[in-house]
């Protein structure tokens, strides 16, 4: 059991350290860690709720979003944008709230207790938002 926990910890640290981004959640985000699959399903519109709470997605436009899509969602930015265009124009969901910079996104996350977004690993996080670890598996 201890070995499995240790391996899980290593795995989660590995994903965390090797990515350029960290996930950040609002104060009331219902989980401390989510799987890579859950992250993908959230940002591709297949999941809206975690632990019964609706998650408000946040994203930063431009190169950050492109890198995030390729590294964490395993889709191109073109593919990602087309998926959301389909949803927006057929009444099947709300596109993630989009911000020009990390500062304005973090400010929004302070107000959205169930919000979820991503920032560069080097960004200093304000009090009131917290890092959500990404783990492999459910």
């Amino acid at each position: 059991m201890r070995v499995r926990l240790f391996l899980l910890l290593l795995l989660s640290m590995g994903v965390h350290l090797h990515g350029d981004f960290v996930l950040v959640g609002g104060s009331g985000f219902p989980k401390n860690e989510i799987s890579a699959t859950t992250l993908k399903r959230l940002f591709l519109g297949h999941l809206s709720f975690l632990e019964g709470e609706r998650i408000t997605l946040h994203q930063i436009e431009g190169d950050s979003l492109k890198s995030f899509c390729e590294k964490h969602l395993k889709v191109s930015l073109t593919n990602y944008e087309r998926r959301w265009a389909r949803r927006i124009f057929t009444g099947k969901g709300r596109v993630p709230r989009t911000f020009k910079d990390e500062g304005s996104m973090l400010k929004s996350l302070l107000e959205q207790e169930h919000g979820l977004g991503f920032v560069n690993r080097s960004t200093t996080l304000p009090e009131g938002v917290r890092v959500i670890n990404i783990i492999q598996g459910d």
């Binding site: 699959t37 709720f49 019964g52 087309r82 009444g91 709300r94």
Partner: protein, 407 residues
């Protein structure tokens, strides 16, 4: 108009938590060898414009939204503003949501967003599969739907959508089809038919029900879908005797049973991403069962579309496959081949039996909100009469260019 909007700063608008999005597109169409879809296409025409605007509000477990659409497509549309979709949705959980109102109709993997230019590389979807001149028949349903996304482990996702309601095709579509060769009337009232009133040529029943099931394998971005649609339509009692129609003005006859259309569609779809490549294929079988249909339909070829002159007992089989490649972030190309084959219970002289379509195209995104597309088509193998005013060739070509602005 689209060019004028280019200069306006665009972005998603949010007012008190209500998201507002819209799009405007202007197309240019030119055909060669056959005047098709839009009158004047042989000389080139700009009579192909689409505009949409939607508003969407999300609550904790409720979603509320609506979209209006206005289009001009040759003799159809005429910029009439129509409600494209408007529904309230209760999200109990991701796996179970209830939709009530006007909802986009699942019909294969792509028909729901056939008007969403931003969502694909090509302009028109395959005309052997989703003919534009029959657009009004498969746009949305007015009724109730149950849908959901069910994750199965790490790699699989099951999506479903079951619905029951009425087709939102216009009640007088058949009258317009007879008088003008179009399915969707414009604001202009169509000319009266001799001996028959408009009330006697409208659909009084437009029931439909069906479902969609999509299985996804996430690691490969591979989807497999099945759609079923069952449509029952009924016309009023008095109508033309098309069975004995030999030109001129047909006789008006009374049939106590009227004409009931019982049509079923089965659609199998699949698509797959492989890096910058995107492959997709769909096949559809349409089965007709008309009560009293022989009286009206056997001799009726119709002046408009190619795939619509289906008589009782006929089956229509169509399919296509498409290969798409994203060359750059902003530029993608595609090639597509499709075909339909009409299996007639009783072969009709001069009737349509098949059509082949091949098209290639390119899409370039000039900015986050402006995109341009070019699409070239070639059609061949159609044995019926295409356009008596121009020629009787069995092949023709079409070039379509479009500029779209969206936010």
């Amino acid at each position: 108009m689209a060019l004028a909007l280019w200069a306006i700063p665009l972005g998603a608008y949010e007012v008190d938590g209500v998201d507002v999005h819209g799009s405007l597109s202007q197309s240019y169409m030119k055909t060669h060898g056959h005047e098709w879809l839009i009158p004047g296409s042989l000389e080139g025409t700009f009579e192909y414009t689409e505009f949409s605007l939607n508003a969407y509000k999300q609550f904790e477990h409720w979603n509320l939204g609506a979209q209006v659409i206005s289009r001009d497509f040759g003799r159809e549309g005429d910029f009439e503003l129509r409600l494209d979709w408007a529904h309230v949705e209760f999200n109990a959980l991701d796996a179970l949501s209830l939709r009530l109102g006007r909802v986009k109709l699942p019909f294969g993997l792509y028909a729901e967003f056939r008007d969403v230019d931003m969502a694909r590389t090509e302009i028109l979807l395959p005309q052997t599969f989703l003919p534009e001149d029959y657009r009004g028949a498969a746009v949305a349903y007015d009724g109730v739907g149950v849908a959901g996304d069910i994750p199965i482990g790490e790699s699989h996702l099951l999506q479903y959508h079951l619905y029951w309601g009425t087709n939102n095709i216009k009640d007088d579509f058949f009258l317009n089809y007879l008088t003008q060769g179009i399915y969707e009337s414009a604001t202009a009232v169509p000319p009266a038919l001799p001996g028959i009133s408009q009330d006697q040529a409208v659909l009084d029943t437009k029931t439909l029900r069906g479902g969609q099931l999509i299985w996804s394998y996430d690691p490969w971005q591979w989807r497999l879908g099945y759609n079923y649609l069952h449509y029952i339509g009924h016309f009023a009692l008095d109508f033309y005797d098309l069975k004995n129609f030999a030109g001129g003005v047909p006789n008006v006859v009374r049939d106590e049973l009227g004409l009931e259309l019982d049509i079923q569609w089965h659609i199998l779809s699949t698509d797959l991403f492989l890096g910058d490549w995107f492959f997709r294929a769909e096949t559809m079988m349409r089965l007709n069962d008309y009560t009293q249909g022989d009286l009206f339909m056997d001799r009726f070829g119709g002046p408009g579309g190619l795939t619509t002159n289906l008589a009782n007992g006929n089956e229509l089989w169509s399919w296509y496959f498409s290969v798409q490649r994203q060359l750059l972030d902003s530029t993608g190309v595609y090639a597509r081949f499709g075909r339909f084959i009409l299996v007639e219970e009783e072969p009709v002289v001069g009737g349509s039996t098949k059509l082949n379509e091949f098209s290639v195209g390119v899409r370039h995104d000039f900015s986050e909100h402006v995109l341009g597309k070019l699409q070239v088509f070639h059609y061949w193998g159609y044995p019926g009469t295409l356009d008596q005013a121009t020629n009787n060739d069995s092949s023709w070509g079409m070039v379509l260019a479009r500029m779209t602005v969206h936010f």
